[in-house]
Symmetry: C2
Subunit: 501 residues, 2 copies
């Protein structure tokens, strides 16, 4: 049987049924750009329970290199394998299956140069930083819309439209639907087939759910946004937080088989793992191992806590995903984990009657600055009351707050800084610097009228007074070096940048 | 030899030479108000070294009660004993001395009812509170002018004039002069006689220094301001931080003999004890013991740290004097020490290029509110750059900042609250309350648009929205009880008060 390869584009404004993963692979002599998705479609048995009965994988070869990729059942006798080639040149593939009609299929394709806007997946770089696989700069400035992909097309498309002009290049989002305060709606799709009385058939998946979800992930990719996919979370009323162990593993492998070929995917094993009472620490360790085994590309892996921090030093964790606002502990955590530190949840800008969802825009902006100059990364979220309970933090929609433009302002400063900026450990005020080139200070609630900043005795530097809230950059007259005194505004929450002349 | 008793009033605007302690005792059948100062003056030997050679004390008797009071040498053959009677009625006194001309002198006086503005010394009340000895409310809202009494008359009188209309009822001030950044002037008086080449005669004291100092303390008393007297500090270039052990003890006993009869005196054994490198922890413990032995009235005793906290649980410490802004640790410290917790130094409002002296007025106001609703007390200070280096924090002068009026606003709210207000341990937002009567919330950087505050199901409460910065109190319509929803402003740094209708 010949393989059938599909090429479709993500379509904004399409109905859910028309939504599908953006795939650019073609069979035989087809061409796929580097870090694009090559998809192999096969026909196989539809009887019995293909999710349990049929095993399908492929060996992908490039010169002497071999990668194992798992396939998945997509319903109606359709079987698929997805692959993200990371090297240019000719690749070949051969399937393996316990079913003869799926076994031993072969093909070839060429991996071409990536398109200019395609920089590949994000990886860890220089211990504490992130970067695109092609070497391009990637500094995470993320937001949080936990359940945006389960809200129906109208709202989901509004969310995508918002994201298109928002400053965020990462989004935290749950695979499973969410049930919680302000989140008491049933989704359009469910991950497991569901009887009218609400019983899950945990022996199968519902391909519609996953087709829809992965199409949204692909749309994020087209916007240059990393999808920090939360695989488990406690906000549940369907039973997804308390699945049997073998279903958890099958679910992880199915998600990875479907989604790992998307270059913008990160794996967040849990949101608030310590609030999921049905799972032990050993379970979480096990999930990390399953993900490592199943993901041929080694996408970023993290786990997010509520009160009890997971040991981010464990080898399978690629970066620390922190809840809280203890930015002054960033140096300690960098030292302890030797990994990037991401404050994925430092509370949300908003006005709901919850301590975690009622901080002011100014406080949010302050937190972004503080986290970044201390050597971490910070995540955004918005929780303004809404007559229809559409809060950005969980459902998406539109941004109502005032911090997002200021996050863009900071992001532009950081994106344009020289590589290798790191926190200066002995700095009097917090400072992110590349020694001898650039120094970015944030003074938080301090308001000195003047200060003698520590600059090298060699070289001359120009100073700029930066107002993070008003988003202004004002050059200070003169040049500076050594302990040169700089006159400041005497106002709190200001920043200062020195750049070599 | 007959005793000579003086009665003089503290005179604002007087020259330093004319300044003297306010004393209202008279000999024989004289009358002293309760918690006033009864002073006995005697003539004795002026030859040799009276500071070392002459011992003088008195027994003060009231019915079956006997107190020992140490006298002191005041120069020119003058010996004095000062006593603060705490009980109304007849007192008698008998001196003891190793010199016959000072020994066995006797007299009587009557202690009358205190004047209305005289509430006696401040004591600890209800474990975590303070109060006046007569039962009147005393909630400490202090400021810091470390060296104000060593600045010469013009500036000192300006400081007193400022204090007269300022909201502060406590002031932290050093007995020894201070040498430090912005504090590089020589004082008019020195505690020890000093040669022209700057050598201290540590075997004697200079009575002029102490007469001047105690007059300033008495002037504070007249303004209703507690003098939190710092006995040792590290900011020195005269040698006072590194005196021989026997001189330290003699100095403590001399200060106490002169000043303990002032009802507004508190003993702060050190400012930043851990920065005084010449003294060990055992030395500080010893100083506390000397003070306890020497002070017949048991004035409040504390010690203030920089980085290393003293163990405030030690029996001789009456309250914890904290440096820092860890207001969220107040419950822990209350539990650990079972004493009032005073954040005597939470940084200063100002604009000098020091992290501890450059916080904004809004941040200072925030800290006062946070500290108070968490169950502590907070101290003020101001460090604005000045062309003549007159910074309030150390030299006094005038207040330039914006926090002081807001401290008054808070003080009035707290002074007028029912007694027994304490932090509610499980409150969602920090709350100081007397259960069933009054609830004072401070929401810090939170800005919920509405909130269901925890109120008793019984009773009805009126709500007020309080803006700590704009100093407004706005009644909310209606009455509240149980989990009644209150609409808020949706702005940060707001407070809410509920009072039983």
């Amino acid at each position: 049987m010949a393989s059938r390869i599909t090429r479709r584009s993500a379509i904004f404004g399409a109905t859910a049924a028309a939504l599908s993963l953006q795939v650019d692979g073609q069979s035989g002599s087809g061409t796929v750009e580097r870090w694009g998705i090559f998809e192999i479609s096969l026909h196989g048995p539809a009887d019995g329970n293909p999710y349990l009965d049929v095993r399908l994988s492929a060996e992908l070869r490039h010169q002497n290199r071999v990668l194992d990729v798992s396939g998945f059942y997509d319903g109606d006798g359709a079987y698929k394998l997805r692959f993200m080639p990371d090297s240019e040149g000719e690749w070949s593939w051969t399937t393996r299956s316990n079913r003869p009609e799926l076994d031993g299929k072969r093909g070839r394709f060429v991996c071409s140069k990536a398109q200019p806007e395609n920089h590949g997946p994000v990886i860890v770089r220089d211990i504490f930083q992130f970067g695109y696989a092609d070497g391009a700069v990637y500094c995470p400035f993320g937001t949080t819309c936990y359940a945006w992909a389960h809200q129906g097309d109208a709202l989901e498309e509004q969310t995508l439209a918002t994201l298109r002009s928002a400053p965020f290049n990462k989004i935290r989002m749950c695979v499973f639907p969410k049930w919680y305060a302000y989140n008491n709606v049933e989704p359009q799709y469910y991950p497991f087939p569901r009887s009218s009385s609400g019983e899950n058939d945990l022996s199968r998946f519902d391909p519609l759910f996953f087709r829809h979800f992965e199409a949204r992930v692909a749309q994020l990719s087209a916007l240059g946004i990393q999808a920090d996919l939360i695989l488990f979370h406690p906000y549940d009323h369907w039973g997804y937080a308390n699945l049997p162990a073998e279903v958890n593993d099958r679910y992880l492998r199915y998600v990875i088989a479907r989604l790992a070929a998307c270059r913008n995917v990160w794996w967040s094993v849990a949101n608030e793992w310590d609030l999921v009472k049905s799972k032990t620490l050993a379970d979480w360790d096990h999930f990390f191992r399953v993900i490592q085994e199943s993901d041929p590309y080694g996408h970023l892996r993290s786990i997010h806590h509520s009160k009890v921090m997971y040991d981010h030093a464990k080898s399978w964790v690629t970066h620390a995903s922190i809840q809280g606002d203890q930015f002054d502990r960033t140096p300690e955590w960098r030292d302890a984990f030797q990994k990037p530190v991401v404050f994925d949840e430092c509370k949300y800008e908003g006005n709901i009657p919850r301590r975690w969802g009622d901080i002011s825009a100014r406080e949010m902006v302050r937190r972004f600055w503080l986290g970044v100059v201390m050597g971490g990364w910070v995540g955004h979220g918005e929780t303004y009351l809404d007559p229809h309970d559409v809060l950005w933090w969980s459902k998406g929609g539109v941004l109502k707050g005032e911090s997002a433009p200021r996050v863009r302002f900071l992001r532009e400063l950081i994106d344009s800084a020289p590589p290798g900026m790191k926190p200066m450990p002995a700095s009097y005020y917090p400072c992110l610097a590349r020694a001898g080139e650039q120094y970015l200070y944030f003074l938080d609630y301090h308001q000195p009228a003047e200060f003698a900043f520590d600059l090298p005795a060699e070289g001359r530097f120009r100073a700029e007074l930066i107002d993070p809230w008003n988003m202004t950059i004002t050059a200070a007259p003169g040049e500076f070096h050594a302990k040169a005194q700089l006159k400041l505004r005497g106002e709190p929450y200001q920043a200062v940048r020195f750049r070599r002349s």
